[in-house]
């Protein structure tokens, strides 16, 4: 065609081998009893895949669709709604710099520029050695300690541009004290039956407590 149109007819070229192992598929399937429909397990499935593979590629989306018995476009629809799912590989550590008001006032922009300069990458990019990816986020809920940034799940408070070099050099800059959430691990058998038996109100309460 004479003008430029994005080609959506050809698939994104990816490997032949399946990305989702049988164990991973089984883990997704273990969520089915929680919901009325299979498609309802889409969000847990996306979390499981991203936690295991680091990102959810187009091939992975197709494989998730296959497990959940839905069209891949439904997976893309849901995945792209949430900004925290990655469709391309991300670095070992993801630096998320806050770009909200308090941090902006307290020099967040300068911190971001310093990181960009030191790593030699821009936003949504990954260093050539695959160690760091850089993104910004609206608010990290650390306004009382601005400017703040996240390295993976570790929150660094009151960061100044001159701290950046030290922060990046620290091997343990993403280590958190508490254990990782097991929210997206399959529930034990007993928990499922218990939820089924109880009424809707207590479900909601439990969910809130869990949060």
């Amino acid at each position: 065609m004479a003008w430029k149109a994005l080609d959506r007819l050809t698939p994104v070229a990816e490997g032949e081998a399946p990305l989702l192992s049988e164990a991973l598929r089984e883990k997704i399937r273990s969520f089915f009893p929680r919901y009325e429909t299979k498609r309802a397990a889409l969000l847990p499935a996306l979390h499981i895949v991203q936690n295991t593979l680091g990102h959810v590629s187009y091939q992975a989306m197709e494989e998730i669709a296959e497990v959940l018995d839905i069209h891949p476009s439904d997976v893309l629809d849901t995945l792209s709604f949430y900004t925290h799912f990655w469709t391309h590989p991300k670095g070992e550590k993801v630096i998320t710099v806050c770009r909200s008001l308090s941090c902006e006032v307290m020099g967040g922009k300068e911190v971001l520029d310093e990181i960009k300069k030191q790593l030699g990458i821009g936003l949504h990019e990954t260093t050539p050695d695959g160690k760091y990816s850089l993104v910004t986020e609206e608010c990290l809920a650390g306004c009382d300690h601005s400017a703040c940034l996240l390295i993976n799940e570790k929150l660094h408070k009151c960061v100044k541009p001159e701290d950046v070099a030290k922060l990046l050099a620290d091997e343990n800059n993403d280590k958190i004290d508490s254990e990782r959430s097991d929210l997206f691990d399959p529930p034990p058998e007993s928990a499922v039956t218990k939820t089924d038996a109880s009424d809707g109100t207590s479900d909601a309460n439990e969910a809130q407590e869990g949060n």
Binding site: M1, W3, K4, A5, L6, D7, R8, L9, T10, P11, V12, Y58, M61, E62, I70, H71, P72, S73, D74, V75, L76, D77, S80, F81, Y82, T83
Partner: protein, 540 residues
């Protein structure tokens, strides 16, 4: 019946519909993008918002609600009072339309939808004349999303009608809504294009120029097109359609709402299957052969020639046996005229049902649906009027034959004279019939394309495509559906109905309606035709 009050006027409406439908039916022009009566309700475009009277939470006194309500999502109920004519409602429409146009490229001069675009119409009727947008527009890409459709993301109003169509009607789910908020776009999964047998409908559903038909792209401005109501000849369903033509050239077919047949939809096979109409290889002039001589008679002489030839044949041959093959692509009226002509001359003439093309199986949408859940069906019987010809054969009585038996008997030389009607869009003589065709002493072949019958015929008559004729088809359920003439036949050809009308001994201009009146005298079924009901003016 419920009674509601719209803008201080009492309106009686059917129970169970929405205020938007009631208002449209009563003549109100309520702007809307996302609402479509054939799809689920999204209430996302915010153009149909109205004011509604509600009880005050404390005093229980009835008053106008401070918040506007979507008319498309509010069901009618007795005593409901709403208004569209208030400043608040008008201001909302203008504001919404201003937002819709913020990132719109305003490329109407090169947009196929211009002229039938609801962004244009609504902006003119309800919007602002000027844009206050001073910033750079957000440019989004065009997407090649399927073999028949293009998606211009920058023109999209995100009504999601197309997405709901693939989810609810075709059941194929190819389209989705990616990203969120201001970055929302309609898209397909890469490598899983929009490719289903009903995909053309998303172009009709699109209220703006976002989804476009590749086959119509840049072909013609829509205001130059003239639409004629017609019936699709693609399969035995007989969907109600509109034929859009300009300068005697058909550019596109669009479905018309008909709850008895096709609702709002039509299939791609029917929609894009009209190319044969403009095929150069079509037979355009009558030919009379005498030995090796080939002459093209004047049209006014032709009825006389046909009549004389058949009369002479029957007179000169003791026990002459005449066969007529009636094609399921003929209109009921044409077939009736031909039967009348031939039975007048040879009362024992054998009537043959032409071959009925069958392809695959009936397809139902969404796939696997049963009963009321079936939203659309494509039938395997790929001809429009098998049922109609059957009705006529039944009414005419006498000997009838299947096509295969006819070929067999003709090959054995059992028929001395014949009239074979084709008019199929594709090659229809599948088995060699040369031997059978050669056995006739007098053979008339009426067809669109050359085949073994036309090669052997003494008289070749050009058949016209359905867009060039008028008459009626009876669909699989026996509904008699008229279709009107949209374009002139190719130069040199005459409409089948006209020469059959004259040959059968009538004078004047042929019209389907006139012949149907004559037919109804003997076949009562033709008293009643199924016409698509009118649609309220401001719905789309």
């Amino acid at each position: 019946m419920a009674k509601i009050i719209i803008d201080n006027q009492e309106v009686e409406c059917q129970e169970g519909i929405t205020v938007l439908q009631a208002a449209s039916k009563a003549g109100w022009d309520v702007p809307h993008y996302c609402f479509h009566p054939g799809l689920s309700i999204a209430a996302s475009c915010r153009l149909c918002l109205m004011e509604q009277k509600m009880p005050h939470p404390q005093t229980r006194e009835m008053g106008w609600s401070p918040k506007l309500m979507p008319a498309c999502q509010t069901p009618v109920r007795d005593g409901l009072e709403v208004r569209f004519a208030s400043d608040k409602v008008k201001q909302n429409r203008a504001n919404c339309l201003e937002f819709y146009l913020l990132d719109h490229p305003l490329d109407c001069p090169v947009c196929d939808q211009a002229g039938e675009c609801h962004l244009q119409d609504y902006s003119q009727r309800f919007g602002n004349a000027e844009s206050r947008m001073v910033d750079q527009k957000h440019v989004t890409p065009k997407k090649d999303i399927g073999p028949k459709t293009l998606l211009y993301t920058d023109r999209c109003v995100l009504c999601t009608r197309c997405v709901r169509f693939t989810q609810e009607i075709s059941g194929t789910n190819e389209l989705c809504l990616t990203n969120r908020g201001s970055k929302n776009e309609i898209d397909v999964f890469p490598g899983r294009p929009l490719d289903n047998p009903l995909q053309g409908n998303v172009v009709d559903l699109c209220p703006v120029g976002c989804l476009l038909d590749k086959s119509f792209l840049f072909k013609r401005r829509v205001w130059e097109l003239k639409g004629t109501p017609s019936t699709c000849p693609g399969c035995a369903m007989g969907c109600s359609i509109r034929v859009d033509q300009a300068d005697e050239h058909v550019y596109r077919l669009k479905p018309r709402y008909n709850p008895k047949v096709n609702d709002w939809w039509m299939c791609d096979e029917g929609r894009f299957g009209f190319e044969y109409v403009h095929d150069d290889k079509r037979i355009a002039a009558p030919v009379v052969r005498r030995g090796k001589d080939k002459t093209t008679p004047e049209w006014q002489d032709l009825p006389g020639i046909l009549k004389t030839r058949f009369e002479t044949h029957v007179r000169e041959h003791e026990g002459a046996s005449v066969a007529v093959v009636l094609s399921p692509f003929m209109a009921c009226e044409e077939a009736w005229l031909l039967i009348r002509f031939i039975r007048d001359i040879a009362p024992s003439a054998v009537l043959v049902m032409g071959p009925v093309p069958v392809e695959g199986e009936d397809q139902q949408f969404p796939a696997g649906a049963t009963g009321d859940a079936v939203k659309f069906t494509i039938l395997k019987e790929k001809c429009p009027n098998k049922r109609g010809i059957e009705m006529l054969l039944e009414a005419a009585g006498g000997e009838t034959l299947a096509f295969d038996a006819f070929v067999e008997k003709a090959t054995a030389g059992e028929f001395s004279a014949g009239w074979v009607v084709g008019g199929y869009p594709k090659a229809w003589v599948e088995k060699p019939v040369g031997k059978a065709a050669a056995k006739f002493e007098l053979l008339v072949a009426q067809d669109m394309f050359e085949n073994e019958f036309t090669a052997a015929a003494d008289i070749v008559l050009p058949a016209c495509a359905w867009v060039e004729r008028d008459g009626s088809f009876a669909n699989h359920a026996g509904l008699i559906q008229p279709f009107a003439r949209s374009i002139e036949p190719p130069a040199g050809a005459m409409r089948d109905g006209q020469y059959l009308f004259e040959t059968a001994g009538f004078e004047g201009i042929y019209s389907g309606e006139r012949v149907r009146e004559l037919m109804a005298a003997t076949i009562p079924a033709f008293n009643e035709v199924c016409e698509a009901p009118p649609v309220p003016a401001h719905t789309h």
